[in-house]
Assembly symmetry: C2
């Protein structure tokens, strides 16, 4: 929020990227409560809220998040003054280290300020962070399964949850490690590389090559002109169809591949390089392998260097499971176009981040519940990630705000055995980064995690340990055992 400690906002903030993000993008009950705080004379009481999730998404054990400062920061401060009686005093935002991998129960965001104001921010924060984090996580998981050498293209706009569901998804997929999107609006807004192919309608709009009126094509160096490029391609098609080496692949040869090869070879004659093919149905493992064989035979038979490395893109309702199945079967796909499953987060359509009061007027607050996962951790806290000697994170630990930080090489009591602390990321206010920086940090954070085969990750992920310091543990247990004085642990 770029708020200085003296309570002045350090610069005028731009408006949100999405104009639908207005001060009214909140739940009615936030206004009801802000009004009630004011009626009770409590609206300026200093409150601390933590934003965190209780359960890892997609059954995973770690989670990538685009904490999306830009998005968050662009909630305009001045427009928060909704009720005449409310003035925005100091709001202190403690964003966790940006683009960090988060573990459950660890605050992604801590917001401190007058209770009425912070209360109003609950819904927009949750709305903006939940979806962003979920999609970035989902994208990172798809990238992990596809493998680092594969190109991942996000093709989800048409199946996304509305315009913003589409534009947001493109942005967060890129942050999570995708390489490009088909979404032109997202490309323009965020500078994400654009990629695309063509649809069936384009092919079927032509009845015959005779429909092409201007058949001429300049060579790539502009020095010569082929007057009838269509005939050139047809000549190549005949050569391919009469080739003995290609007879074995009769089935695939009946499909669009020979047409593509003929055009690619004709283009090659004029100094151009064809971009590649997309397989959008059928047995993608088999078809990609057959296509690769054909490309390699053509490279050899017609002496076209590099033709065997033609890019093969595959699409058709791909997701983590189908990518994994393709890997097991063996395939020759270079790039995957992924739509519905990545943008809608089909496997888990929502992340359940919550925003809980942990302190008011320096007094701790806890949410009690019979369901232990719903009990909140009170107090202002600090978070650390402890690394083992091998360089992999071993455990995350929360301490009280005023406890001394863990020291490298010094033992620290967690709920788990001692570990050596190598590096301890701390709360920090940072300035905004480019979308590329975010993407790279996300990828490098993931690379730091101890590698595990996908199968294990999916079925029986090694639990990543989250813990609290001995002091905080004692406090929670003594404080949590007291009931709220009004005897009400559930909201009415």
């Amino acid at each position: 929020m770029a708020a200085k400690s003296n309570g002045q906002v350090s610069k005028v903030l731009d408006g949100p990227i999405n104009p639908m993000v207005t001060p009214l993008l909140t739940d009615l009950y936030q206004f009801t409560m802000a009004y009630a705080y004011w009626k009770a004379g409590k609206h300026n009481e200093r409150a601390v809220f933590d934003l965190y999730f209780r359960k890892n998404p997609f059954g995973g054990e770690t989670k990538s998040i685009s904490s999306e400062n830009r998005c968050l920061l662009r909630v305009r401060m001045d427009s928060l003054i909704i009720l005449e009686e409310l003035t925005v005093l100091m709001l202190k935002f403690m964003l966790c280290k940006r683009d960090q991998l988060f573990s459950r129960r660890f605050p992604l965001l801590r917001v401190e300020g007058p209770i009425a104001v912070v209360q109003l921010l609950e819904t927009p924060f949750l709305n903006l962070i939940n979806y962003a984090s979920l999609v970035a996580t989902n994208a990172a998981r798809h990238r992990f399964v596809a493998g680092e050498s594969k190109m991942l293209l996000e093709f989800g706009l048409r199946r996304a949850q509305g315009p913003d569901g589409g534009i947001g998804a493109s942005r967060y997929c890129y942050m999570g490690g995708f390489h490009a999107t088909s979404n032109v609006a997202a490309g323009k807004l965020f500078g994400i590389p654009l990629r695309g192919t063509h649809s069936h309608a384009f092919v079927s709009s032509f009845m015959s090559p005779d429909e092409i009126i201007d058949k001429s094509l300049h060579s790539s160096d502009k020095r010569s002109t082929c007057e009838d490029f269509v005939s050139l391609a047809q000549t190549w098609l005949n050569k391919i169809q009469w080739s003995n080496s290609l007879n074995d692949t009769y089935d695939v040869m009946r499909s669009g591949i020979p047409n593509f090869c003929a055009v690619a070879l004709a283009l090659n004659d004029l100094g151009y390089k064809a971009a590649g093919i997309r397989l959008d149905s059928g047995d993608l493992a088999y078809l990609s392998s057959e296509a690769r064989k054909i490309f390699c035979i053509i490279e050899k038979e017609f002496g076209v260097p590099g033709f065997g490395k033609m890019v093969i893109t595959a699409s058709n309702d791909l997701n983590e499971e189908t990518l994994d199945a393709l890997n097991k079967q063996g395939h020759e796909v270079d790039a995957f176009g992924i739509g519905t499953y990545v943008v809608t987060c089909y496997a888990q359509a929502a992340l359940g981040c919550v925003f809980k009061l942990v302190e008011i007027n320096n007094q701790p607050r806890i949410k009690l519940s019979e369901d232990v996962t719903k009990v909140s951790i009170p107090c202002k806290k600090r978070s650390y990630r402890l690394y083992g000697k091998e360089g992999y994170p071993l455990v995350d630990i929360m301490t009280g705000e005023n406890e001394p930080p863990p020291k490298v090489g010094e033992r620290i009591l967690c709920r788990h055995p001692f570990n050596e602390s190598k590096r301890a990321p701390r709360w920090s206010n940072r300035r905004s980064a480019t979308i590329k920086d975010i993407r790279e940090r996300c990828i490098s954070q993931l690379a730091k995690m101890r590698p595990e085969p996908h199968e294990e990750t999916k079925l029986n992920p090694t639990p990543y340990k989250v813990s609290v310091s001995a002091k905080l543990y004692d406090f929670i247990h003594s404080y949590g055992s007291m009931r709220h004085p009004w005897g009400c642990s559930e909201s009415l």
Copy 2:
């Protein structure tokens, strides 16, 4: 599109409600293809595309759709002129009867115009219609399970897929039969009634009633003032706790309900009526029944007419299944707050509408595929819904554009046995309606369907028949047996 038959757009259109809906909200390949159509001199060829879905969502047999004219119509015509060489000529939009229940394979929308322009519109149409239809359908299904007498409140903003995922969801839930939303932005934009309660944070921000500084409250008629309303409520709390009739309900009495009753009774003394309670965790069936008992005992014991009818709202990750389970257990809930599951369409996060070329220059086009569900139905078509004598729809039928419409009382050959045609909704251009009109039509359309118990609908829905006329059937079969002349049935 309010386009006149002479090709003039009849009025200047407003911009889209969502400013993220721009001409760039489309896939890159649409521009690639529009450019290629132009290069081939084909960009002005007259094309007809159908927008439809192949498979009913949520495993259901009928589907409610908010065809969302306002949304569609607000794609600005003038901004479609992206490429200098493209001029927007006549676009003819044939929207199916608005807010109709659609069956699979029947076009929701038919778009006719220069192929390059219509191609560019594929992605925005799919993006805008897919999510709108899915959420409206999901909302209607929840309403069906909850029962007509129950109030349905949409509380999903915080878990929605971004700002537009939230605002859109509130709008389409209302259209699908919900009664209100917590989303203030949606309330302001679309006039949807707003509802809300309060959160746990509000309760836990108070340590004791002593924190309330101004304890006085005017009576509702302003004639008198209670100087210490807190004491009045505490007096009532004592009375409740000493009541013999309420002893049986000890467990529930330890929760927030006695506090609520005390305040409600104190408010009643001053001429106010308490709004009700919200149960947000625990066994909602049991707690609501116990709460109802307490309210009824209080009505009787303290002589407060109507207290027994106090509104009980329930929330906590509700969905179709949990609503159904509550109904089976028996409950006393009057209103349900539903969030995540309705706005993200958790049970099926995307609707797979497609947009297929069915005619170009008056020549039919078909998409062939080994998967028969992917084969498109060629030609310009008309759609009819045939009703039986009892007033329920029996079958939907598509005919060729120029076939005579089915007549009431006259037999017509479908893929199914003869039926009497009672009424035949036809393609029509209509003017836009208010969100309330849309909601009411959606509810009344659903009411016309033959009633089925939820269990059956869920597990083994009676198939709703979709068919084509004998003439169209013959045409498809003769035409479909021809392969595309280029021998390419899959897109590359």
